[in-house]
């Protein structure tokens, strides 16, 4: 009986390992290359053009072609950073209750109708191009905002409303996953103790699903933070600190998208835009670490 020499199965396994390891290897190379690329371009502003990082993050004047009083290019990214955070957080604040309501409806109240009708439509929304969202934002939301609040209508409010609709499907579908992952016996136990459906949802289900629900919100925020074309059409693209919810301003992505075609590789104008991209990348990293962290905390509990 030969139990030691390699067999067909041993070879198969080696082949399997080689295939999957090389797949993950290729992906790692892709990821590393894009990260390296953005980092090297983005850091050039500080290394080659000697822009002070602190001044970059806190300056409010964005005119890369001009020099400021210190003889440095005017690349103050604070307006874009502020606006990006504001629209992201506001969009998340608006979208979360609706997403949770829809998720609760789909999982706890009317699972049949919810999954049959709402879910396909929600998934449909994910695929609609941002251009179409932006266009509807420009032709529908901006005039409404202008009508109610005056001004030009473009700005953080319009951006928030467009992003609200755009991240709604993401947050909803992840929340649905979070709720369905709550084991059935928790529901039965709570209802058996005489709790009403709402008490069960509020005290048992939402609490049990909380880490994953938070994850859903963060993924939604990550999507909002990185969205470009739709926001660009309704935010106004003025590199100004936002003074109100309806004043034209600019996000990191909209500034990047608007100006990048008009700059030449290697110039300060171009490098400064890549520094904005680097901030986007770092934020995306932060969002993912948050998800990771919350996931870990959820597991331990």
């Amino acid at each position: 009986m030969d139990l030691k020499s390699p067999s067909k199965a041993t070879n198969e396994d080696r082949r399997g390992r080689i295939i999957t390891y090389s797949c993950i290897g290729i992906i790692i190379v892709l990821v590393v290359s894009i990260l390296y690329f953005i980092a090297s371009r983005g850091l050039a502003t500080f290394i080659q053009n000697h822009v002070n990082v602190f001044r970059f993050l806190t300056g409010t004047q964005w005119n890369p072609s001009l020099l400021d009083s210190h003889g440095q290019p005017e690349v103050g990214a604070l307006p874009m950073i502020t606006t990006s955070f504001l629209v992201t957080i506001l969009a998340a604040i608006v979208a979360t209750p609706f997403a949770f309501a829809v998720a609760i409806y789909m999982v706890e109240i009317a699972p049949k109708r919810g999954t049959k009708l709402l879910q396909p439509v929600m998934e449909l929304l994910v695929g609609i191009p941002s251009v179409v969202y932006g266009f509807i934002g420009l032709t529908v939301i901006v005039p409404i905002v202008r009508h109610i609040f005056g001004g030009t209508g473009v700005g953080i409010l319009a951006g928030t409303l467009v992003l609200f609709v755009m991240i709604l499907p993401t947050v909803t579908s992840l929340s649905v996953d979070a709720l369905t992952a709550v084991p059935m016996y928790l529901r039965s136990a709570s209802l058996a103790l005489g709790a009403t459906r709402w008490q069960t949802i509020r005290k048992v289900i939402l609490r049990a699903a909380m880490p994953r629900l938070l994850t859903a919100i963060i993924f939604g925020m990550a999507r909002a933070f990185g969205e470009a074309l739709a926001v660009q059409m309704v935010i106004g693209n003025a590199a100004l600190m936002p003074t109100s919810l309806v004043s034209p301003t600019s996000t990191l992505t909209s500034q990047l998208t608007t100006e990048v075609g008009n700059t030449v590789m290697g110039t300060i104008q171009n490098n400064a835009l890549w520094s904005l991209a680097l901030i986007l990348l770092l934020m995306s990293l932060v969002f993912n670490l948050l998800v990771h962290f919350i996931g870990k905390r959820g597991e331990i509990k």
């Binding site: 390992r17 797949c23 990821v31 290359s33 690329f37 470009a228 990348l281």
Partner: protein, 295 residues
């Protein structure tokens, strides 16, 4: 307020919020379809686009979108499948694995324009692929990978561990077990994931402007030689997709009928997405029923 009352109030509030969301959805889809459908004619679907004259169509853009999708899946599906199998079956539960996971996730939240520019500088310029479907497909792979890996890995995890044990207890290799037992069982979920990710690829514009380009040169649909530059199958030709075309019409369009073409194209896009969605569901259900033996 008694618990019964608060229960009733909460249910009403939730119903109102859901109704509000449904209204938004109906408005969005209604707006796109009602303004768009009247413009969706056979002429629109079968004519090439025009640079400045009226009467253009979206024939080439529609085909390009599908071709780009196929090519993207051809590149990204095998990679994500391998990577998902690695993560689901081989990866140790340690910091390296979570580093890999995090970096893949970061890809999915990168702004498309950044990926587009990266693709432009690396594939279009550095590798000399030019503005081409191939460059576009590789750029889109960056978005597609995290989506696909996540959904495939989820489907693999959904297959009970006992199936894996049954396989290896028969003296089968891990790989054979994964390939022959786990994958077929996970297939409905995987297919659904692919089709849903296809929707996102279909609607992407910003990443393609700099990679697949924004012009649709006239190609011959009878030339089946993918190496010929006039062939519709040539992956090295520039190709404007439907979503990019909509973008262009809305920003720099000079054709007099830009508005109606854009509306029609948006409606076509939504209909295609709808078809993807419904077929994902149908295929998923069909395979699921076949697998579980309930006819």
């Amino acid at each position: 307020m008694s618990s019964q009352q608060s229960n009733r109030v909460a249910t009403i509030v939730i119903n109102i919020m859901v109704a509000f969301v449904v209204l938004i959805l109906i408005f969005l889809l209604g707006d796109i379809l009602i303004t768009g459908l009247p413009h969706v004619t056979l002429h629109l679907l079968t004519s090439p686009s025009q640079s400045f004259a009226a009467g253009g169509g979206i024939r080439d853009q529609l085909f390009n979108s599908f071709y780009l999708l196929v090519l993207t899946l051809l590149i990204s599906f095998p990679l994500s499948l391998g990577a998902a199998i690695y993560l689901a079956e081989y990866a140790a539960n340690n910091w390296l694995t979570s580093l890999i996971r995090t970096s893949i996730e970061v890809l999915s939240s990168l702004p498309s324009v950044v990926v587009g520019l990266f693709g432009y500088l690396l594939f279009v310029i550095q590798f000399k692929f030019g503005f081409s479907i191939l460059s576009g497909a590789i750029a889109l792979t960056f978005f597609n990978l995290p989506l696909l890996i996540r959904s495939i890995e989820g489907s693999l995890h959904a297959v009970p561990r006992s199936q894996h044990e049954a396989g290896i207890s028969l003296g089968l290799s891990n790989w054979k077990t994964i390939k022959g037992i786990i994958l077929p069982a996970a297939l409905p979920g995987i297919l659904t994931g692919i089709i849903l990710s296809a929707g996102r690829v279909f609607g992407e514009a910003a990443a393609l402007i700099y990679t697949a380009g924004e012009s649709a040169p006239i190609v011959s649909y009878t030339n089946w030689n993918p190496l010929d530059s006039n062939s519709f199958l040539n992956p090295m030709r520039p190709a404007e997709t439907l979503a990019v075309h909509i973008w262009k019409l809305n920003t720099e369009g000079v054709t007099p009928d830009a508005v109606s073409i854009s509306a029609g194209a948006s409606a076509v896009l939504v209909i295609v997405l709808l078809i993807f969605n419904l077929s994902a569901r149908a295929i998923g259900n069909h395979l699921y029923q076949k697998g579980s033996g309930h006819k």
